[in-house]
């Protein structure tokens, strides 16, 4: 009757499964997590930056454009990468390979599956953000030692997207709508949430739109840490953090429901 043993941590077992899968494909993903920041920082930060720095914009307040841009890109890259990781593997587990249904036939339940996958995405984001941050430092674009804390801030930014996208992915039977999420959700956020220029440069009417998106808060928090300006407005940093955590908490609550529902439907 050894089979009666119940795993102490279902979440840990789901995480272990994702790690096992990752071991088979990590080479490609490691390469791209190095390449993306190098390309972006070289093209936008150094290339575009040499134009911008000549224009003496008051918003930059004496910063190099590279130093301004780098933390924004860090947070935005985590968003994109987490959104992808939250959409397709969830669809695969529930619809394509149906491995979540196999897990659900064991003592594992829907909540374990959601939290295990979420924890895995979190670990992936820490890895992506760490690589990115090392490259920022190598580019000489880090203005403060607090940039170490930009790693968890950027990872949280990714997770603030991952949680609600997981909840959405579990309601879909085909990936058709994922394209719309990326094209009309992720890409516009990438462009308009303060990654490339301060949100204050946008027309006043649409600035509030940026405030309700997690990327705006993620970018602002990551940037405040990278530039070392966080001490000047600790209250603001706290608000950014709370918004990110709220997206995560609400997203996970919905994801547990939608994943659980899809598992019971069969």
């Amino acid at each position: 009757m050894t089979a009666l043993a119940h795993p102490r941590s279902g979440i840990g077992r789901v995480f272990e499964h994702r790690f096992m899968q990752y071991r088979r494909s990590y080479r490609a993903s490691i390469f791209s997590s190095f390449l993306t920041p190098v390309l972006f920082l070289a093209a936008m930060g150094v290339g575009l930056g040499s134009y911008v720095d000549g224009s003496t914009s008051p918003a930059l307040a004496g910063l190099s454009y590279l130093a301004f841009l780098a933390p924004g890109l860090l947070a935005a890259t985590c968003m994109q990468s987490a959104a992808f990781e939250a959409a397709f593997p969830i669809m695969s587990g529930l619809v394509w390979s149906r491995t979540f249904h196999a897990m659900h036939a064991t003592p594992i339940d829907g909540r374990d599956i959601v939290l295990g996958n979420f924890a895995w995405i979190g670990a992936r984001m820490v890895l992506v953000a760490t690589v990115f941050t090392v490259i920022i430092v190598l580019f000489g674009a880090a203005a403060s030692p607090l940039i170490v804390l930009a790693i968890p801030a950027a990872a949280l930014t990714g997770l603030a997207f991952a949680a609600p996208i997981m909840a959405f992915a579990a309601t879909q039977r085909t990936p058709n709508k994922f394209n719309a999420v990326f094209r009309f959700g992720i890409t516009p956020l990438f462009l308009f949430s303060g990654t490339f220029y301060p949100v204050e440069s946008l027309p006043a009417a649409i600035q509030p739109l940026a405030w309700v998106t997690p990327l705006y808060h993620g970018v602002a928090l990551t940037r405040a840490l990278s530039l070392g300006t966080v001490g000047g407005a600790p209250g603001l940093a706290l608000i950014h953090l709370v918004v990110l955590l709220a997206f995560i908490a609400v997203g996970l609550w919905f994801a547990s429901r939608t994943v659980g529902k899809t598992l019971l439907r069969g």
Binding site: A3, R98, T99, A102
Partner: protein, 331 residues
């Protein structure tokens, strides 16, 4: 078929009846008025059944009869809409994870992780049951042997044939040494050779005392594997018994199949009556139900009937199903 001399699954022995077997009844599974509804549609309509320890129990019926819905409720992954269900003496609603810890499940659709290797699929599955890595490794190797997949252990699952994937799924379902093995259409879609290999493996499990619960729409599968079965049709159980007793009860000892030249069968109205205890007209042939098939053939010839083909065979569950529902099982 190569025979494995050792018994790699010696540990997967009969359920330990001394341990937490249900005190109230000797059934491993007991359903009363079990019902599953999806909106307005009733998939399972108040069925009763019992499965005893060590028994091999089957749900036989056409697609859409409610077999899979029943299996999913037994597997504690689909809530009941009505009635009661006890599995290993426990209530699935309150003790789903505890029950699932003691079940082995072979779903109708493969749910293997195609990104992992054959062996990794077994290892990670054992981890879901809380087994240590060392224990998972030992069992995985035993089960690979049992499923005749040892040589493919390091291959990616994607590259396996359909029959191999099914065998891997069965091996995976045994990693926790389950008290009950649930198999939903275990051989659907496999070629005859792969099916026979799978039946052989299941028969071995049965001989070791593993309780099997399976659904099928194949008569031969039910006859080979089931000690007892229920025939399901349109969400209800229409008959219950051993394959032999069902045949005795609902059919004759032998069946004579007559095939006529195209167009002839339609002209034979009155001439078939009374040739046997029961005469069944199918689109492509006529079935004569009589304990003595040869006598029925002689009677047909005596009436001047000239079938192109004559086959006298033993009655099967297909005949039982036809009798009970007026339809054949596999269209």
């Amino acid at each position: 078929m190569p025979d494995t001399p050792s018994t790699p699954l010696a540990t997967a022995s009969a359920p330990d009846l001394g341990a937490p077997a249900p005190a109230s009844s000797p059934s491993l599974i007991q359903a009363r008025g079990l019902t599953k509804r999806f909106g307005e549609f009733t998939a399972v309509d108040a069925i009763d059944f019992d499965v005893a320890p060590g028994e091999s129990f089957g749900f036989l019926g056409p697609n859409g009869a409610g077999k899979t819905s029943t299996m999913r409720m037994i597997g504690c992954v689909s809530p009941l809409s009505g009635g009661t269900l006890q599995i290993l003496g426990l209530d699935p609603e309150a003790h789903g994870p505890q029950i699932r810890a003691r079940l082995g499940v072979v779903p109708q659709q493969d749910t293997l992780d195609t990104e992992l290797t054959v062996r990794e699929n077994l290892l990670i599955y054992g981890r879901y049951f809380g087994l240590s890595r060392a224990e998972c490794a030992t069992r995985a190797d035993e089960l690979l042997e049992f499923a005749q997949l040892s040589e493919r252990a390091g291959d990616q699952v994607e590259r396996l044939s359909g029959g191999m994937k099914r065998r891997l799924t069965i091996a995976r379902s045994l990693i926790n040494e389950p008290d009950v093995l649930l198999l939903d259409e275990p051989t659907t879609g496999l070629d005859p050779q792969a099916r026979h290999l799978l039946w052989d493996r299941l028969y071995r499990l049965k001989q070791r005392g593993v309780t099997l619960v399976l659904t099928t729409h194949y008569m031969d599968e039910a006859e080979q594997l089931c000690d007892r079965l229920v025939v399901m049709d349109k969400a209800k159980i229409v008959a219950e018994g051993s394959p032999r007793s069902l045949i005795e009860q609902y059919s004759t000892r032998e069946v004579t199949e007559l095939r006529f030249a195209p167009g002839v069968q339609e002209t034979l109205d009155g001439q078939l009556d009374g040739l046997a205890e029961r005469v069944e007209r199918l689109p492509d042939r006529v079935l004569l139900y009589a304990d003595d098939g040869e006598a029925a053939v002689a009677a047909a010839h005596a009436r001047g009937l000239q079938p192109e083909q004559v086959l006298v065979r033993r009655s099967s569950l297909e005949d039982v199903f036809l009798r009970l529902t007026g339809r054949s099982l596999v269209e």
